[in-house]
């Protein structure tokens, strides 16, 4: 085990680039998941829409699909000739596949369900009479949401974010399918590890170490949020 070269390896540009890109992609994905995930979770928890079961299944689908299938689906949707990609390209000149933005989209796609599941169950666990009592006191819906509902589900939001961030950080299949493996642009840590394994196995080990440390340093503080400690 060539531990002696570890510090050199960790300092190399390729690894640093992959590390920074991974952080950027995973945190961007977490932000997007947070912004869109809360309304989706709220809708799933509170609406009586008749196709709710189907909708919930669709939202959870990325959790059970092999990521490569998700990447393929994204490629068909957002590729240059895809029905959404064509539209994005024509109207906004925006191309997702094989760009950093594409990596973020892939990460959002696979990590969203983790957040939605956590937050939806938190919404469900609130006794609706609590919000109704606030209504009878004359409070506006916004005030009730911000002052009564949100503080109650806050721990689940944090836990859900940590989980989905971790999932985004580890994302591999959908990213390599949809965004490719370009150093500095779409080559996140897992992709760099995959590549390094073919050429420089010790670099793969070093990168794996970086991933483990990064993940633990984020997950440990939030561990109690989803696994209540005794």
């Amino acid at each position: 085990m060539p531990w002696s070269g570890l510090s050199d390896l960790l300092g190399s540009d390729v690894i640093l680039d992959a590390f920074l890109l991974s952080l950027f992609v995973s945190f961007s994905a977490a932000l997007i998941v947070f912004v869109f995930g809360i309304p989706i979770a709220w809708f799933l928890a509170r609406s009586n829409f008749s196709f709710m079961k189907l909708l919930r299944a669709v939202v959870l689908l990325p959790m059970v699909l092999p990521p490569v299938v998700g990447g393929t689906a994204l490629l068909f949707a957002f590729g240059r000739q895809g029905f959404l990609g064509k539209w994005l390209n024509d109207w906004f000149g925006l191309t997702l596949p094989f760009t950093t933005a594409g990596s973020v989209v892939a990460a959002v796609f696979v990590s969203m369900p983790f957040f939605v599941v956590a937050v939806e169950s938190a919404f469900r666990s609130i006794n609706e009479d609590l919000e109704k009592t606030a209504e009878t006191l004359g409070a506006s819906s916004l005030k009730i949401f911000l002052k009564v509902t949100l503080p109650r589900i806050f721990p689940s939001i944090v836990a859900g974010l940590a989980l989905s961030w971790a999932r985004a950080l580890g994302e591999f299949g959908a990213t390599i399918t949809f965004a490719g493996n370009m150093p500095g642009e779409t080559q996140t840590l897992p992709l760099a590890i995959f590549l390094a394994l073919e050429t420089k196995p010790e670099a793969a080990l070093a990168l794996s170490l970086v991933m483990i440390v990064t993940s633990l340093s984020i997950l440990i503080p939030f561990r109690d949020q989803w696994l209540p400690s005794r």
Partner: protein, 337 residues
């Protein structure tokens, strides 16, 4: 102030209510569990919608076939049975939650409900009695026209109960509807008692009226009386189980018969002599209440007898014993239905 005449279909029965409450009036709502009391409160504060009929608060119709005013705009203070405090906020923040609250009134209420020492405590850490006081203060701070209290003093410590009772006795200008299981509390806090059974008001009146002529077995049990519906034919009334009771006055048709437990005498052997009602029964339960002993009997009629401790000792009664229960015709109260 409040005028309700309408119905709401529930799972097992229909809540069918005609009720008026004046400004300044406190009305107590009593009834067995599952009779629709809490649902009635939810209906008034706008968490349920009437199936038929209408609800008027002040001069506005707030619920009818084609109107429904959201609970936010009804100005009704609702204190649900489990308080529903905002646990993550402090006591003070809970009380000032309503946009209608004013800071002077909030401080007044904190003082009135003796919450100064806990005002900065998280509501989630309050005791049961504190929580109930916070919940009531919070509802009052929203300046309601109608106050709805769902069992406000059930299971509370004596001090909290007193504080709440003192407030309810002195408050002015708020129509109050109070659910309780305690007829004494109802009598001390309200002019009018309403009995709700299976969604229907079976009796409405003062505590005295309830005591003197309970309309149903439930009303009678509330005031500690035995109640037997029967069909009278002259001086004899026959119950649904075929038991014949001797009356002191001749009546025809359906009657409600009330038998005060203290008028029932118990014997180990069948008593002979004067024209009395004599029934055989088995002792189900024995409860000591101060100077007296209440004995629940099961036999041709289910009823309760109350005898003195002395008599109880002389008779040497035990649970499961068979006894003869006797009472004079003049002690029955038979009211034609």
């Amino acid at each position: 102030m409040l005028e309700l005449n309408g119905s709401l279909d529930l799972e097992h029965f229909t809540l069918k209510i005609k009720l008026e409450i004046d400004k300044n009036e406190t009305v107590s709502l009593l009834g067995p569990n599952g009779s629709g009391k809490s649902t009635l409160l939810r209906l008034i504060c706008g968490l349920e919608k009437l199936t038929t009929g209408s609800l008027r608060i002040n001069t506005n119709i707030v619920d009818s076939e084609n109107t429904f005013l959201h609970s936010r705009f009804r100005n009704v203070g609702w204190v649900p049975q489990n308080q529903m405090l905002f646990d993550h906020l402090t006591v003070k923040q809970n009380i000032e939650f309503s946009p209608n609250s004013s800071s002077e009134e909030v401080s007044e209420l904190i003082e009135l409900f003796d919450l100064e020492h806990v005002q900065d405590k998280k509501a989630g850490n309050c005791s049961g009695g504190e929580s109930q006081r916070v919940a009531i203060a919070r509802a009052i701070a929203s300046k309601p026209q109608i106050l709805l209290l769902d069992e406000p003093s059930t299971g509370l410590d004596e001090k909290s109960k007193q504080i709440i009772h003192r407030y309810l006795k002195t408050q002015k200008g708020v129509a109050t509807l109070l659910i309780t299981h305690d007829p004494l509390e109802a009598a001390s806090l309200s002019e009018r008692l309403i009995i709700l059974e299976k969604g229907v008001i079976t009796q409405s009146g003062t505590a005295d009226e309830l005591r003197n002529s309970p309309a149903t077995p439930y009303s009678a049990s509330l005031v500690g009386l035995n109640f037997v519906p029967a069909i009278a034919n002259g001086l004899v009334a026959e119950t649904s189980k075929g038991v014949e009771l001797i009356l002191s006055e001749s009546i025809q048709g359906p009657v409600n018969i009330v038998i005060p437990p203290k008028s029932i005498a118990l014997y180990k052997e069948k008593p002979i002599g004067s024209p009395r009602n004599v029934l055989m029964a088995k002792i189900l339960e024995i409860n000591h209440v101060g100077e007296n002993v209440r004995i629940n009997l099961d036999g041709q009629l289910d009823f309760m007898a109350e005898i003195t401790n002395n008599a109880f000792e002389v008779l040497n009664l035990h649970k499961g014993d068979e006894v003869w229960a006797a009472f004079k015709a003049t002690e029955l109260i038979a009211t034609p239905v």
